[in-house]
Symmetry: C2
Subunit: 164 residues, 2 copies
DNA sequence: TGAAAATATTTCAAACCTAAAATATTTGTG
DNA sequence: CACAAATATTTTAGGTTTGAAATATTTTCA
């Protein structure tokens, strides 16, 4: 029933020490993630006059200069399809991205940065990186590496199983 | 200008390796946090017929059996005051918590679990812990400790400075 | 070919979330 | 005491988010 419980687990011991340690780890991830996200949202608002979700979309499109489909975008950001529609609508209205038809598939559309969007993001990305670096001021190089390694293990375990 | 840059930083080197490592670490935190949060939200919905924010409120009140003020609640959950108002309204409607007047201060109110809310949460908390433990199945005891230590460092650095 | 299934996206309703304004009450100070 | 400042909470407007339903188009296959 509980995959996490190995040979040494005693019957009747409902929540093991390991299980409790994992819960604490999760709550700590959540705490840091909320705190940092809040700080960045505030910076985005006051200094860039934009929002975190919009910045995230621009970042994704900056990595894929030829553009992405709506579904690729939502998958990459790990948010729902419907959510991306609204954010893309606003970024289009701001002139930072465009929707383009897809050859041979009139259901889909490709979204990509406009020159203005590309310029905007390139400038802001550097400032964003400096904000993050300040917020993680106490994170040493070796701790950053350890953190990344541990978290990658967790993501890999929870990777969506792919269809074949 | 950039507190994170030490003596060895070269002028003109706009984003140091350390700064990039920290950015990668942040993006990885965000990725794990979104993935896990999504999985837990889905479980909450399908198996408990509730939402993560509501569960979080119950969890906070379960730790403080005598109840908390609205402001303590929002601070503890790191969300805005207005946000908590709505969630508390819904939990009151569900009969899981109650608002009580505060002696000598008619501005404030204290929120606490009803017996039903206490019972409900106690049962669900165990299941929740087992979900988390499964999602973190690959996280060893020592990695959990390392993760907690590193993340605590980060939270402490970003702790809100207190008023004296 | 032509209907059913699959796919890509948008729309919708409900909830969540924030920042700022509004409301109600208490505290501090002349 | 009066009344300004501070405090606790709610309300409001606008944006974000989800899951499900709706729409449009493409693919599959009998």
């Amino acid at each position: 029933m509980n995959k996490s419980e190995g040979l040494s687990e005693q019957a009747g011991n409902e929540t093991s020490d390991l299980s409790k340690a994992r819960l604490r780890a999760w709550l700590q991830i959540l705490k840091v993630s909320r705190k940092i996200e809040g700080e960045l949202r505030e910076k985005m608002r006051t200094e860039f006059n934009t929002t975190l979700p919009r910045f995230d979309v621009l970042a994704a499109l900056y990595r894929e200069r030829d553009g992405m489909r709506m579904s690729e975008l939502s998958k990459s950001l790990m948010v729902s399809n419907g959510n991306v529609t609204g954010i893309v609508d606003r970024l289009v209205a701001e002139g930072l991205i465009v929707r383009m038809p897809v050859e041979n598939d009139r259901r889909a559309s490709i979204v990509r940065l406009t020159p203005a969007g590309e310029k905007d993001f390139a400038e802001r990305a550097l400032v964003h990186e400096s904000w993050v670096s300040e917020l993680f001021d106490d994170l040493s190089s070796s701790d950053a590496d350890a953190l990344i390694r541990i978290l990658r293990n967790i993501s890999h375990h929870n990777e969506a199983p792919h269809h074949d």
